[in-house]
Amino acid sequence: MQIKALFFATYRDIAGADELEVQLPTGASVDDLVASLRSRGEGWQALPEKPAVAVNLTYSKLATALSEGDEVAFIPPVSGG
């Protein structure tokens, strides 16, 4: 299945892109997405093993199962205000 991964602030610097389309096996979780990204190479090790994420605009646990077309945003520590 295809997942859209979004990156902001420091995570955007790591990914080198605002968003990436990622192919994952059916039934994969957010944890699997993180592992898949971190295995892409040296620079990706800067992405935390347990980052905060939002699935389809909602903060979600890393165990959350993903579905085709889900939007997963990687959320570095926020600093609005």
Partner: protein, 148 residues
């Protein structure tokens, strides 16, 4: 339910516009305004760059406002947060709360700004006068509280 407004904008914020929403039903209105400071943690700041995940930021803001409403009695609640490049003295965020009871207005206003800083997906990069810039270390949002 009053006419709430939660907006992420690239345009300058006019805080006065928000306070005008108050009417004769509520006796108290409170306006919080966040302003870009010329210093932070001992370094001289020249400007700020704010980035947001806009769709989600507006959703989380609406959740926060709904939570404030469930705890305190409020009339209209408006929250505007600016993104993009901001100069010193410009308004980064404005929160307007009206209420029949001033205590509720203070509590709800404070709740919204504190939760905004903890949970709303917005990031701030400080541009220093020495030419460097840096993303601020902020708060790590938790899945709990957003209904997941």
């Amino acid at each position: 339910m009053a006419d709430d407004r939660c907006t992420i904008t690239g345009d300058p914020i006019d805080p006065c516009e928000l306070i005008a929403a108050a009417d004769g039903t509520d006796g108290a209105a409170l306006l919080f305004v966040g302003i870009v400071r010329d210093h932070n943690e001992g370094r001289e700041v020249g400007h700020l760059d704010y980035q947001a995940y806009p769709e989600m930021a507006e959703t989380v803001l609406r959740n926060i406002v709904a939570e404030a409403r469930s705890r305190w009695e409020t009339g209209a609640v408006s929250v505007i947060h600016r993104i993009g490049r901001l100069e010193i003295g410009e308004v980064s965020v404005a929160i307007a709360v009206s209420s029949p009871h001033r205590g509720d207005a203070y509590s709800a206003s404070r709740y919204v700004i504190e939760e905004l800083k903890k949970r709303v997906p917005i990031w701030k990069r400080e541009g220093y006068l020495d030419g460097e810039s840096e993303w601020l270390r902020g708060s790590t949002p938790q899945p709990i509280g957003e209904g997941s």
